[in-house]
């Protein structure tokens, strides 16, 4: 009951924090798509490079987010951005590389070699093959990677409250420091709901972007 009345009384604050939260994740994952998809396509040219890149991306994900924030403070302090929005975005950008690069790489390399041969034999240039055949076929798998990145990083963004990035994590960190279960529970529930909603919305988007000929 206490929690419900807390939510009802602080509705606009919660929505404001949620908006901050979404903004951090959206910018970071958006940038991650712009970098990760081309990287994933580029590394299909060499198995050795692909292994190295995917290895590095895997290592990045194993760094605890709180440690990553800590590592960035001295680096970004040189431009006066040691804490706040920028390091949060950078961290999420880095964490998102693994699912997006890996899924793009897997999707492109899994395109049926017969399709590639047909496309080549018909006289498509490498860019035409990529844009007309390989990417459309890879889209569902790439989008699945984006979904993973978003859901995973909605959690990471909550922790970014500790470096002053804002977002729903603010409720959680305050709930802990003020021993206030109302804020803590509200923050936790809001982050979970946001993750579920994002997952659902991206699944819809994934289905829309899947070429009709590939749907079951």
């Amino acid at each position: 009951m206490e929690i419900l009345s807390f939510i009802a009384n602080n509705w606009s604050v919660i929505l404001g924090l949620a908006a901050e939260h979404i903004w951090i994740v959206a910018v970071a994952v958006g940038l991650a798509i712009l970098t990760g998809v081309p990287i994933g396509i580029a590394i299909t040219q060499s198995k050795r490079v692909a292994d190295a890149v995917l290895y590095v991306a895997s290592i990045i994900v194993t760094i605890p987010s709180i440690a990553l924030f800590g590592l960035m403070i001295p680096l970004l302090s040189t431009i006066g951005q040691g804490i706040g929005w920028l390091p949060a975005v950078i961290a999420i950008l880095l964490y998102s590389q693994l699912p997006i690069v890996r899924n793009t790489y897997t999707a492109i390399t899994n395109v049926d070699p017969a399709l590639r041969e047909a496309a080549k034999g018909m006289g498509m240039t490498p860019l035409q093959r990529l844009l007309q055949v390989e990417i459309p076929i890879a889209v569902p798998v790439i989008m699945a990677g984006v979904r993973t990145a978003v859901v995973m990083n909605i959690g990471v963004a909550a922790i970014a409250a500790y470096i002053g990035a804002g977002g729903l994590g603010v409720l959680i960190s305050r709930g802990i420091s003020q021993t206030d279960p109302r804020q803590l529970v509200t923050g936790a529930i809001a982050v979970s709901l946001l993750a579920m909603a994002a997952d659902w919305a991206l699944l819809k988007l994934q289905k829309r972007l899947t070429p009709a000929g590939l749907k079951r």
Binding site: A118, G121, M122, G123, V133, P136, G213, L214
Partner: protein, 377 residues
């Protein structure tokens, strides 16, 4: 015309240099189908793929209609060569129409022309454009997909087609049908075609010429009939099979050996007249035909001895009849099935067109042998 001159491909492998094609020389005249035939690993596919440079030749020249293709860039070259592969390779993200329009679009046709071409080609292979243009490949059966694969290669009307075991993945019944359709199309389109196969029966059926490959070299390049009748060496003889003479049956149609003037008689004819005409021609049998000239039975000279009346009363039912277009393999099969030495032939309208006999069939096979021997001598 496609001409290969000393075409060679060597691959470097961990076990040393492998020669996949070894100074291949051949020429496919304009409008003909040449089958590249051989066991797997013999270099036939390598030879084919060097023509559209999916595999880069190590040395040698490829000329298409007299032009050295090494002067063209890969993309330009491939857009002028139709390419069909066994796995079909229709793009699953595109509709049938979009698939067919790929090359026309690449070479800059306007969309209207490309689309009407797509509809026209679908019609050509018996797929209703209204039904199929907007479909996706996965909605089609294997046979339908391969028909689309073939017409996609024909879309921009290339003079030359390369086909890599195009019908290899289709079930035997549909394969026969598609092969027949394709031959009918080819009779009208007259493309110059290189066609890889590992199936001697397909090669004999589809090829104007057959090149038999072994270990990167051509063992024999000749017409199907010459290859079957006169294999150049033991390898070729072995590859075409011990039943190679039987395979030649497919190369001759009933029409070529049927006797169109074999005796026939109307049902209403009088026994006496027919008996007399049989006696004068020395024949033992007359085919009985009805008012529409369809064969309906036969009479024998022996049974007409001393009889009178109408021929219709003495007729036995025909064991079977064959269309004159049928090849001799089908004819002989019918003969064996009905335990008979002769069969009546019918034309496209079902009318009597003569008689094929077993001696005539064997004589036809012998004649080709004899003729070929005479040529060699």
């Amino acid at each position: 015309m496609i001409r290969l001159e000393d075409l060679t491909k060597t691959f470097a492998t961990p076990n040393g240099l492998v020669v996949a094609a070894d100074k291949v020389n051949m020429e496919v005249p304009t409008g003909e189908i040449c089958i590249l035939l051989g066991p797997s690993g013999c270099g036939k596919t390598t030879a084919l793929k060097m023509i559209n440079r999916l595999i880069a030749p190590t040395s040698g020249r490829i000329l298409i209609n007299g032009e050295d293709t090494s002067k063209l860039n890969d993309i330009e070259l491939r857009r002028n060569i139709g390419y069909v592969i066994q796995q079909i390779g229709l793009f699953p993200n595109m509709t049938i129409e979009e698939n067919i329009c790929v090359v026309p679009k690449l070479v800059g046709w306007d969309m209207k022309k490309a689309k009407s071409r797509a509809a026209e080609l679908l019609d050509l292979v018996g797929l209703d454009p209204r039904h199929f243009l907007r479909r996706y490949p996965k909605e089609l059966s294997g046979g339908q997909q391969q028909r689309v694969g073939v017409i996609r290669a024909l879309a921009a009307d290339p003079p030359v087609m390369l086909m890599d075991e195009p019908f290899g993945a289709i079930d035997p019944i549909n394969r026969e049908i598609i092969q027949d359709e394709f031959l009918k199309m080819q009779a009208a389109l007259k493309k110059t075609i290189m066609f890889v196969s590992h199936d001697i029966d397909e090669a004999v059926k589809m090829g104007d010429k057959i090149a038999i490959f072994r270990a990167g070299k051509i063992e024999q390049y000749d017409s199907p009939d010459r290859i079957l009748a006169h294999p150049a060496n033991a390898f070729v003889a072995d590859f075409v099979g011990a039943d190679r003479t039987l395979k030649r049956l497919r190369l001759v149609t009933a029409e070529e050996v049927a006797r169109a003037d074999a005796a026939s008689a109307a049902r209403s004819a009088s026994v006496a007249d027919v008996r007399q005409s049989l006696a004068s021609s020395g024949e033992r049998i007359a085919v009985v035909i009805d008012g529409d000239h369809h064969p309906v039975g036969f009479v024998t000279a022996d049974e007409l001895q001393g009889a009178s009346g109408r021929i219709g009363d003495f007729a036995h039912p025909l064991p079977a009849s064959v269309p004159v277009r049928a090849d001799l393999r089908a004819v002989v099969s019918e003969m064996f099935a009905h335990d008979t030495m002769w069969l009546a032939c019918t034309d496209d309208n079902g009318r009597y067109a003569g008689v094929v006999t077993q001696p005539a069939v064997t004589a036809a096979l012998r004649a080709t042998y004899g003729g070929a021997n005479a040529g060699a001598a």
